[in-house]
């Protein structure tokens, strides 16, 4: 009896300790984000306060307004560019990769192993590896300095990820369902759109979310392929404005918060799909 009692107390104590450590770890992980948001609400003088203000004592939006009225870089315009680039990346890569994933999951394909291997390898390639040849190719075919250069390059990142991830969704659906649809008179295209896609709607959303994020997060493609700064997305913009010229930290953090806001919104509404994509997409192909 006493043994069980002490065991229970020990167990409870262990649980309190592990909860405490978990909360500390959680706070460490979200601290950089918290620090960015709160610093963006401070005046530049409070940034240098010692000891540092963990909560902004006199919160103000002045960093945002100064940064937005900056004449050297047009942030709303850059946000539109970002949405244009990531939206196009999303549409192109989702369509191409969902189709390819279906083909690879449902049909006997000669060279199947090589195709899967190629997608796996391209998912692992460093960006720098295609940056140099594509720089020359894009200049030659005349899409250098257009939106197409970053859009197409972002698709090369998103497509392998989406194909391999989406294939696991299609494989998860019993072949009999597909066959039953065919017997009922659907051709392969009809059964793809009417039966398979609705059944894999979760995977389809993951594809859209992740290819958007691939497009939104990119900085180096636009920096390298686009010399006209009015066509830059926000990521390239913040790199150029903050990284090169160095501006006040409160304004940098305000700029950063504006760049991050769409990602945070996507996270809030698409949380379930982001978790699914991360677990399914990266483990196996």
């Amino acid at each position: 009896m006493s043994y069980f009692k002490s065991y229970k107390i020990k167990n409870k104590l262990g649980k309190y300790i592990s909860t405490f450590i978990a909360v500390i770890c959680f706070l460490i992980m979200i601290f950089p984000l918290y620090w960015m948001f709160t610093s963006s609400l401070k005046e530049e003088t409070s940034i240098f306060a010692s000891p540092p203000e963990l909560f902004p004592l006199n919160p103000s939006l002045s960093a945002f307004t100064t940064q937005l009225s900056m004449t050297t870089f047009d942030i709303p315009r850059a946000l539109l560019n970002s949405f244009l680039i990531s939206g196009s990346t999303m549409i192109i890569s989702a369509i191409l990769s969902i189709m390819a994933a279906y083909g690879l999951a449902r049909f006997k394909i000669r060279g199947f192993k090589i195709i899967i291997f190629l997608f796996l390898v391209s998912q692992m390639l460093p960006q720098i590896f295609t940056l140099i040849p594509n720089f020359i190719i894009f200049k030659k075919i005349g899409i250098y300095n257009t939106y197409w250069a970053p859009i197409l390059s972002n698709c090369t990142l998103a497509i392998p990820f989406c194909v391999l991830m989406m294939r696991t969704y299609f494989i998860g659906i019993p072949k009999e369902i597909d066959e039953a649809a065919r017997i009922d008179g659907c051709n392969s295209l009809q059964s793809f759109f009417r039966v398979m896609l609705p059944m894999c709607s979760g995977g389809v959303i993951v594809c859209f979310v992740f290819s958007f994020l691939f497009g939104y997060g990119d900085m180096v493609y636009s920096l390298t392929y686009v010399s006209d700064s009015t066509k830059w997305p926000v990521t390239t913009g913040i790199y150029n404005v903050v990284g090169r010229y160095g501006i006040e930290w409160s304004r940098s953090m305000a700029f950063g918060s504006m760049v991050v806001l769409p990602v945070v919104l996507i996270f809030i509404f698409m949380q379930k799909y982001i978790v699914a994509g991360l677990t399914n997409g990266s483990v196996k192909g």
Partner: protein
């Protein structure tokens, strides 16, 4: 049936073709082209010439002659190994701590994924702020707990700059490690732990006798993928330090980028990126062999 490929299966190619053509044009052809460039003389003057002079392995010989390539390989491995050790341990710790059927814990675990989907450029700028000399919270915090006496110029010395970019990259990489390992943890049957408890095993014994062996394949995947994804990191380091100070954080991707787009020596830049590719390719083959083995089992 025609050699195992039925007529119906031929339609399958039509589904795959668009993506395959796209990837061939923008990825597989450029990969081959990259090898060609690395054997030619390509600079600003000859960049768009239809016929470039072949100089074969001269570019490779040149880059090995300078001390920069070896230096960058060492930096790449330092960066990668430093990142992996800590992001794996911290990710593992988080996965274990947050392996609970509790709404609050699930919410916290989901929020911790945000660093992974943030644009790397922004994360880099936030960490540049955290490690800045004036107003940086890292110095303030370390001074207040007495670890350092006077402010450290984190990004102005090679060693501390490397430490700073590693910490920034760990922050971005931890969620990836955490989520893959917690997916593995969720698959371990609960009664294994219960029977171990009855046998009187303590938490450490349970961890090393049940948790680690059950997670073997997840751990392998996390480590290999972690290596690949970290070894090719570019933006975080480029934005935080641009490879400096005094080349202290000049990992291979950055050396290749600077050689190509700052010095306009595209051929040598391509040669450097080929060596980077070779290292990753070896790891990639190793990994695909490994998952094949797991699937058979």
């Amino acid at each position: 049936m025609l050699k195992g490929i039925s007529k119906g299966d031929r339609i399958g190619y039509l589904y795959i073709l668009p993506a395959l053509v796209f990837m061939s044009a923008l990825m597989f052809y450029p990969i081959i082209y990259n090898f060609v460039i690395s054997m030619q003389k390509v600079d600003v003057m000859t960049l768009l010439n239809p016929h470039k002079q072949f100089i074969w392995f001269d570019n490779y010989i040149n880059i090995f002659k300078t001390k920069y390539l070896i230096h960058s390989i060492v930096k790449s491995f330092t960066f990668t190994i430093g990142c992996i050790i800590f992001q794996f341990s911290f990710g593992f710790l988080l996965a274990v701590l947050f392996n609970r059927e509790n709404k609050v814990f699930k919410f916290m675990r989901a929020v911790m994924l945000v660093p992974y989907i943030l644009p790397a450029t922004v994360s880099a700028i936030v960490f540049k702020f955290i490690f800045s000399v004036n107003g940086g919270i890292a110095n303030e915090f370390l001074q207040s707990i007495g670890v350092i006496e006077k402010p450290v110029e984190w990004l102005l010395h090679p060693e501390t700059a490397m430490l700073s970019v590693i910490i920034a990259n760990i922050w971005c990489g931890v969620p990836f490690n955490m989520i893959l390992l917690s997916a593995g943890l969720a698959n371990i049957p609960k009664d294994l732990y219960e029977s171990a408890e009855i046998d009187g095993a303590n938490a450490f014994q349970k961890f090393f006798a049940i948790t680690v062996p059950s997670l073997k394949s997840s751990i392998e995947a996390v480590l290999v993928l972690g290596f690949v994804y970290t070894f090719r990191v570019f933006e975080i380091v480029y934005v935080m330090t641009n490879g400096g100070p005094v080349n202290g954080t000049e990992i291979m991707a950055i050396l290749s980028y600077k050689t190509s787009f700052n010095n306009f020596n595209f051929a040598e830049g391509a040669a450097i990126s080929n060596i980077l590719f070779l290292i990753l390719f070896i790891v990639g083959i190793f990994y695909s062999k490994m998952i094949k083995k797991d699937e058979v089992m």
